[in-house]
């Protein structure tokens, strides 16, 4: 049982470290500097890839929430929690990088741009989800309650995006070709390669953190169980 998991961890680590350096090289040296924005555009790579992971982590939470409703197991409960915790970190990074980007692109720290606001609300839902998990009670009860909240939160995210998009259609920094002839539409192929590589690296980082987080949480659980066993033994 123990051997293959350690192997996967090591493989992830071995892949992750060089990938990090390669993506840093790609971002800062290899990829061309954007004409309008200059060097500050580089933050875009971090921004997009952390945003991607923020949403990925959220849907992982949602996935485990659905599974948990079917049959709550400790494993699923831990996975959903760790994914949410990592999600909070990445959502915060996304927001910060987004604000820096906004400052240099539109000369304002904050705009009510649909994606940015969606991410902000996503952060709030994540935090609310973690609050639900911090409630007192048996883990089975909390698992059920948090799963229900996770699912409701998951349903909400696309609606938030739609609503805000509808609300404010003025500032769309559409980078990929989906927008209708907006300036700045489309990326240069070199940039795209860098971006995709970055997304891959950050996803790898997410996987690695996920596995480590689960391991730590399980250790914590083992210790807690051992503790309560000792207390029980001493009491009786």
């Amino acid at each position: 049982m123990k051997q293959p998991s350690a192997f996967v961890d090591r493989m992830l680590y071995i892949l992750l470290v060089p990938a990090m350096f390669v993506s840093l090289y790609l971002i800062f040296i290899w990829s061309p500097i954007e004409k309008q924005m200059g060097a500050s555009q580089k933050i875009f790579y971090f921004h997009v890839s952390t945003a991607w992971v923020a949403f990925l982590a959220f849907f992982v939470v949602g996935y485990y929430c659905v599974l948990m409703l079917k049959r709550p197991t400790e494993d699923r409960f831990i996975k959903a929690g760790i994914s949410a915790e990592i999600g909070v970190v990445f959502t915060t990074i996304t927001l910060l990088t987004g604000m820096i980007w906004g400052k240099s692109a539109w000369n304002t720290w904050w705009t009510w741009e649909p994606r940015l606001v969606t991410v902000l609300i996503l952060l709030f839902i994540y935090i609310a989800y973690l609050f639900v998990r911090k409630m007192e009670g048996t883990w089975e009860k909390i698992a059920k309650l948090s799963a229900v909240f996770g699912i409701i939160g998951c349903i909400n995210v696309p609606i938030v995006f739609m609503a805000i998009r509808w609300w404010n259609t003025k500032l769309h920094p559409v980078v990929f070709g989906e927008g209708k002839n907006q300036s700045g539409g489309g990326v240069e192929p070199d940039m795209l390669v860098t971006l995709l590589f970055c997304i891959g690296t950050i996803t790898l980082l997410y996987l690695f953190m996920m596995r480590k987080g689960i391991e730590i949480e399980k250790m914590r659980l083992t210790v807690r169980k051992a503790k309560s066993r000792v207390i029980e033994k001493l009491a009786s």
């Binding site: 609310a128 059920k144 909240f149 409701i152 609606i159 509808w166």
Partner: protein, 227 residues
Amino acid sequence: MKIILADALTIAAKDLRNELKSKQTSGMMIIFSSLVILIFSFAFDPTNNTVKAIIPGLIWVITIFSGLLGLNRSFISEQENDSLTGLKVAPIDPSSIFLGKVVANLVLVTIVQMLSIPILFLLFDYKFHGDLIWFLLIVLTATIGFIVIGTFLAALAANAKNSEMLLPVLLLPLLSPLMIGAVQATKIVLEQEGITDAISWLQLMAAYDLLFFAACFFLFEYLMEGS
């Protein structure tokens, strides 16, 4: 289905009778919303004409804040004598508890709105020129969505010790799309702009209502399962 509805009405009638006797929650909600209006009139000078622009937003701020008070009570009040367990052991579908609470809360919040919105217009000296039917329809649609998700989360939060603090933290992020729609649609109607825009917001809100009603209706059973 019919039985669920009948049970829901029984529960709603019980809640409303309870409320009619004590008038605690509704009284608090009305006083609270009046106080919010008062504070807002200090914060934004009502004699200033530009303040009229924030009226649509104020309507929803009042509704949500006073509604939160009522929602908090709706499941906490069931903890006295543990009567929620009484409902759980009764031979009824758990969703009828949800439905009953939604109906009771909706009636309560609507009553509060019927008082607080005129008070708001009065104190801010706002002359209503919009289309009344559309205005009421928008208010009702958004309020239903608010109550549906609010009741559901109140049931969830009631499991925690600090539920009155937890509920807003859970509820407000989930309400954001509904509130965007509600404020925009209200603004359009009040400022007598094109009604077609309001209709598309109304559709968004109706979709939100339906989606969350279905989700909450089916998920409520999991909240009621004991542990």
